[in-house]
Amino acid sequence: MTMEATRYDDGTISYPGHPRSRNGAEPVETIDLSEHTAEVVTWTTSTATPPGVREPNHLAIVEFDVGEVAETSEGDAVDDGEDVETSVRALVQLVDDEAETGDEVEPVYTEELRELGAGIREPDSQGWDGYRFEPV
């Protein structure tokens, strides 16, 4: 299991990856975010959850610093100055309510983030495992 972000030819990064960057550039590499820690940007605890979702559900937007320099599809270093991104954000589940804004968190693998088939979405349409995060 990985948690793959995508770096594009224009130096931008996104999680999840898309066929093109927000500027229309092609993907050049993936970055496994599960090998990184992240910082909590903001968080919430949801007490009104849909079918198949744990209650309460602790959620956060976290930011990963993935600082390494990437290469373009031509093998050149991505060096477009200020457009080169070294961080990327993700929406994640937190293990519990222990994390606060600014805390450093790390991933813990979970087989099922929510009960597949309990909600409206077709179970085979997407993956359901992933990572919960807890303070380092």
Partner: protein, 385 residues
């Protein structure tokens, strides 16, 4: 290009209704025909704003059903789905149909039937608009609001009470709206003492689940003058999108779709924020009223809460009354109907038909938000006579 006029408006009682979506649409549609003084057979285009009748009720084809039910066959029909902004998108589609010359009489009806579902089921239908990596976390639209509200309060040092004041203001306005789901005042202490739904937001920071329908009749200004001396014109309208994945936005407190659609509507109308006399904003969650006030240029970033604290947005005493209808917060939020109902409120304000909610207004704005700012329509209306 000839200006597009609105010559009729209607809305059903919002709330928990026994009727199903087809009946709700017909109720608002027939009332709008009567209000406009237009025969059904005169309608050339019929648009239905609806997010999820198939998912909520198992009923699709609602636009064809409505044309049959109200006697509008053989009008061209189309269902407009843009999630929570389906109503605003319907106004845009109806405006386009008239402005392009394709139709000389367009009826727009928005509606949704939701309350027969449990809160969890309804929340899941709405959350199905999210990206797969978001959906599998169990995120809900209220959860996005909770995270955004926390970030806003921490970053701009805004007091939690300022959000509660949005809810209290809009509930107070809703008391005078006979179509509102809740005609009941809610004070700040009650908001702050209500159960937590998505920390730091509580029950009264959120709009309810609602059944209801609303409608508008649009035509060229020259045709409007054949029917009435008093009407409203759409002087500016634009729509825009932001990222599908919410956390990919550079700044969590900026809704790019609000900014872009607002700029487009201002440019088209030749107006600016100072010209707006009354606004209906998409207060599905209290924090959204702040983000739209800032995105539309009514306040600097991080300062909308100060205007609310100062009473700037109060209906009877403020410089810019916001959500005179009670907003989604008090009036209710039947997804596909909400953007149309915002238009109904601005229409009634500009026509002088808002009763106890009436404010002094010549130019009004409504902003309808889909998803968590994923799709946005901003419309500026003016008295046309």
């Amino acid at each position: 290009m000839e200006r597009v006029a609105i010559i009729g408006a209607s809305m059903t009682k919002f709330g928990q209704r026994e009727e199903w979506v087809q009946e709700l649409l017909a109720e608002a549609g027939l009332e709008c025909l009567e209000d406009a003084g237009v025969d059904a057979e005169t309608v050339e285009h019929l648009y239905v704003s609806n997010m999820a009748s198939g998912e909520f009720e198992g009923q699709t084809g609602v636009m064809n059903g409505l044309a049959h039910d109200i006697g509008a066959i053989p009008a061209y029909t189309q269902r407009i789905d843009q999630t929570s902004s389906s109503g605003g998108a319907g106004i845009y589609a109806a405006w386009q149909s008239v402005a392009s010359g394709a139709s000389e009489m367009t009826l727009l009806v928005g509606g949704e039937k939701m309350t027969h579902r449990t809160t969890g089921e309804a929340t899941d239908v709405i959350a199905s608009l999210t990206h797969p990596v978001e959906y599998k976390t169990g995120v809900t639209l209220p959860s996005f609001a909770g995270m955004t509200a926390r970030h806003y309060l921490e970053r701009f040092d805004a007091p939690r009470e300022s959000l509660a004041k949005v809810a209290s203001k809009n509930h107070k306005n809703g008391v005078d709206n006979p179509h509102a789901q809740f005609q009941k005042e809610v004070d700040v202490d009650t908001v702050l003492g209500s159960p937590i739904v998505a920390d730091p937001l509580r029950l009264y920071d959120f709009c309810p689940i609602t059944d209801g329908s609303a409608a508008l009749m649009l035509c060229p200004e020259s045709v409007a003058q054949e029917y009435t001396d008093e009407y409203v014109v759409i002087s500016g309208i634009d729509g825009a999108t932001d990222t599908h994945v919410v956390h990919e936005r550079e700044d969590p407190t900026v809704m790019g779709g609000v900014v872009e659609s607002g700029e487009g509507a201002y440019e088209m109308s030749g107006r600016d924020p100072d010209d707006i006399d009354v606004a209906e904003l998409h207060d599905m969650f209290t924090i959204l009223e702040f983000l739209q006030m800032e995105g539309l240029g009514f306040a600097e970033q991080g300062e909308a809460w100060e205007l609310v604290e100062e009473g700037y947005t109060e209906r009877d005493t403020g410089e810019l009354p916001v959500n005179t209808s009670g907003g989604l917060k008090s009036k209710g939020h039947p997804l596909g109907a909400s953007g149309v109902a915002q238009g109904v409120e601005i229409y009634e304000q500009l026509m002088g038909e808002a009763g106890d909610r009436q404010v002094d207004a010549e130019v009004g704005l409504c902003c309808n938000v889909g998803g968590f700012g994923n799709c946005v329509i901003t419309t500026i209306m003016e008295a046309g006579q």
